[in-house]
């Protein structure tokens, strides 16, 4: 079997396991859907009847494969509460989550690259230590805490930006951006730490290479050496981590979407959990986990294309 087909097989196996696990968690745990729909006053006969109508009286494995079959054709079922198609609900919320993800990544990269470059100019120097210390500090700040602090500073104290709420792009680009700045900053300020660390360590390795010595010997100023020669070959791991973050942020921004009341996929999931809307929970979790797995897979592939050594080493450990 070739390397690629083995990886594809692995992807399919993981996806199968992920959907099965999701189905299992959502369906085996307490909370009868029929009672949720009919309310507490329903008679046992009504409940039994509805269970039959929904097909809940059949074995779970059978129901799983039916659900999987329609999920593969893009039908994730309909919400029990609003009878909105689950797939449509996700697609409606996706642009907000994607915009948040892109803006957060840009913020993180925007902080990480200059910080790493300044750090490696003089390793162990004052800036290196400041950026290492602040990275360590930010590692101890959870997003819900940072979000609150940013709201307090920028909205309550100085009244510069809206605290919560979302303005769609159709109602003005600036209003839209304004409502996204704090959420993106919250995520970006947390994520830059990892990016800075990997870029810094890769830069230090690159700076030992002969071509850097040559560039220096030619008399190029330190900044040209760093920006023109060292940065690009050092950004390999950085790009990988960025890619992995995309997968995490598609649904992983639950907390930030909740704090800032952004109507994204994460908040859809949270609402569904609070409402016990099982089919919506299941669809959203499946969507989030699947995008996470698929994007991580694509990043791994990209990694392998860029660096053939990976094909032989990475997946064995």
């Amino acid at each position: 079997m070739t390397w690629l087909s083995r990886q594809l097989l692995r992807l399919v196996a993981v996806l199968f396991a992920v959907t099965l696990l999701t189905y299992f968690i959502v369906n085996i745990l307490p909370g009868d859907v029929a009672i949720v729909i009919l309310g507490n006053l329903a008679t046992p006969e009504d409940i039994a009847g509805l269970r039959k109508d929904l097909g809940l009286d059949r074995p779970m494995l059978v129901r799983y494969f039916e659900w999987l079959g329609s999920a593969l054709s893009g039908d994730l079922g309909r919400s029990y509460r609003t009878s909105e198609p689950v797939a449509q609900a996700i697609i409606d919320r996706l642009p907000v989550s994607l915009q948040l993800m892109v803006m957060a990544q840009l913020t993180a990269v925007g902080i990480a690259i200059p910080a790493a470059l300044l750090s490696v100019r003089k390793p162990g120097g004052i800036f290196d230590r400041i950026s290492a210390a602040s990275a360590f500090g930010f590692l101890a700040v959870p997003s819900f805490m940072l979000g609150i602090v940013l709201i307090y500073v920028f909205s309550v104290r100085f009244d510069l930006l809206p605290a919560t709420g979302f303005t769609p792009m159709s109602e003005g680009l600036w209003d839209n951006l304004e409502s996204m700045i704090l959420p993106a900053l919250t995520l970006g300020l947390i994520e830059w730490t990892v990016l800075m660390r990997v870029l810094r360590s890769d830069l230090l390795t690159t700076l030992k290479e002969d071509f850097i010595l040559l560039a220096r010997a030619k008399g190029l100023p330190p900044w040209r050496v760093l920006l023109g020669h060292a940065l690009r070959p050092s950004s390999f791991t950085l790009i990988t981590v960025l890619g992995l973050n995309i997968g995490g942020l598609i649904g992983g921004a639950v907390i930030v979407e909740q704090i800032f009341a952004l109507p994204g996929v994460g908040r859809l999931l949270l609402g569904a959990i609070f409402n016990r809307d099982l089919i919506l929970v299941q669809g959203t979790v499946t969507f989030i986990a699947t995008s996470f797995v698929v994007i991580n897979f694509l990043v791994d592939m990209l990694y392998a294309v860029l660096d053939p050594r990976v094909r032989h080493v990475r997946f064995r450990s």
Partner: protein, 285 residues
């Protein structure tokens, strides 16, 4: 510049590490643990007693850290919240390490098909976004201290399994393991007497870090309203409550946030130091 540029930062820093970098985090963690353990005996106000007339009072001599939206004593709630955080922070990783550690040891020791199967299972668990899984678990298990701990414990299984597998792989090749096998020691004996003792130091370092991750995760769940149920104090829940009154009484959110930050930071510090002692190679990170 070229000579110093090539040197990684860590060795220089390690040599110069000043004692307060250990003393301060250790002191803070000790204070938090001491308060949480003795909470019942140090004359604190009832953390659930509401006094609506005294709501949202800033810190004063009577209420050292002020009162919250319902007029409850913040200091008392912070300390009882510390108890919640510590229970979850100690028990969840312990649960995960017991199961994950055993899985990792088996995978790393027996290798072959066992390894392949176990690593596959771990990969699937890791394929889930952790918070989403935690949310789903607690939402359906029901909210209680026990269930939150259980959910976070299950979530720490894969990471613990990875650490223990990697270390078992490394130690399993050593001569003393070969020697034990040669004199006829059983697999069980080799695993428990030869390999396990060597696994404990790196697992301890990892446990400190896992503790801070779990405390943050519990905070996040409680913040979202899916963690520790309401009257019981929890730092995440307090931050969520305080958010309602950020303009009128910012201390109700910022004080628990600060306490949580210091605790997590201290644990990370200590974890980092222990890891450097256990594995000098990784100190560069």
């Amino acid at each position: 510049m070229s000579a110093s540029a090539a040197e990684p930062l860590a060795p220089a820093r390690r040599g110069r590490r000043i004692p307060w970098a250990i003393a301060l985090p250790l002191a803070w963690v000790t204070i938090v643990v001491f308060c949480a353990v003795t909470a019942n005996w140090i004359g604190l106000a009832d953390p659930a007693a509401q006094e609506l007339i005294l709501r949202r009072k800033p810190p004063s001599a009577e209420f050292l850290l002020g009162t919250d939206n319902l007029g409850r004593d913040m200091l008392s709630r912070i300390i009882y919240g510390a108890r919640t955080s510590l229970i979850v922070g100690l028990c969840a990783p312990a649960f995960g390490f017991l199961i994950g550690g055993a899985i990792g040891m088996c995978a790393g020791y027996y290798r072959g098909k066992v390894d392949l199967l176990l690593v596959g299972v771990i990969d699937v668990l890791l394929a889930f976004p952790a918070l989403v899984l935690a949310l789903t678990f607690t939402a359906y298990l029901g909210q209680s201290l026990f269930n939150v701990t259980l959910a976070l414990g299950i979530l720490s299984i894969p990471a613990a399994a990875r650490v223990s597998r990697a270390n078992t792989l490394a130690w399993g090749n050593r001569d003393f393991v070969l020697a034990a096998r040669t004199i006829g020691a059983s697999n069980w004996r080799i695993l428990t007497r030869e390999i396990l003792p060597n696994l404990l130091p790196p697992m301890f370092a990892f446990w400190l870090v896992a503790m801070s991750v779990v405390i943050v995760a519990e905070g996040a769940l409680s913040f979202l309203g899916l963690g520790i149920p309401a009257p019981q104090p929890s730092w995440g829940g307090m931050i969520a409550d305080g958010r309602e009154a950020l303009d009128a009484a910012p201390h109700t959110a910022l004080i628990p946030a600060g306490v949580m930050f210091l605790t997590v930071l201290s644990l990370n510090f200590l974890g980092d130091i222990v890891r450097n002692m256990v594995d000098p190679r990784r100190s560069a990170l």
